[in-house]
Amino acid sequence: YLPSKHRPKWTSKVVTYRIVSYTRDLPRVTVNQLVAKALNMWSKEIPLSFRRVILGTADIMIGFARGAHGDFYPFDGPGGTLAHAFEPGPGLGGDAHFDEDERWADGRGVGINFLFVATHELGHSLGLGHSSDPDSVMYPTYGAGDSENFQLSPGDIREIQELYGKSSS
């Protein structure tokens, strides 16, 4: 992790998000629930809340795309790069993109666990970089873990709280 003073962060206490496109692999309601779950994992540790919007521009725009999708970082088909996200800021800042060429899953059956990847990418959307700790959700490579016990590592909590402070609750 980089020292927090070098990392951009959201200055508002409420950050908006919008899911602009979905994968064919999962029901929309499941994607909505998993994105909310991923955001909640971060927000319960810090004094920041997320509000979903249906229309217009949100701080964090979330979507699935394949190949070139307008941000100079084209996806590469199945395997390889699964997703990417941009650090907090205007425009593309905060946005999270997922490769529609992957096979996405909700933790059951075959496929990439969307909750794991969404939690990781939304960590970037909040300003975190990659961690070399294999137990961290910010570890850069994907490993299928235990969905039931999936949680932030103590290092993840320490880093996000270094950036935003501790949750008052």
Binding site: G79, A83, H84, I112, H130
Partner: protein, 77 residues
């Protein structure tokens, strides 16, 4: 003289894939003219993944390079 991939006992496609991976996830100063930029980037990667910093493309590095992953670099911008 051996070609760069031959020196490491690799095939040309393996070596090029590794180069692309390092260029993308361990970007170094583009003005750098270091004679062994590949080895230096590889050491950065080995350091990040807590592997011995040999600068040699071994099977442990190749296994990590083949894993699905996030598209953001591990170091730098």
């Amino acid at each position: 003289l051996l070609l760069p991939w031959e020196a490491g006992g690799l095939s040309e496609p393996q070596w090029k894939q590794a180069q692309e991976y390092l260029k993308r996830f361990y970007p170094s100063d583009s003005k750098s003219r270091a004679p062994n930029r590949f080895g230096a980037q590889l050491k950065e990667m080995q350091k990040f993944f807590r592997l011995p910093e040999t600068g040699v493309l071994d099977s442990r590095v190749i296994i990590i390079m083949r894993k699905p992953r996030c598209g953001l670099p591990d170091i730098g911008e």
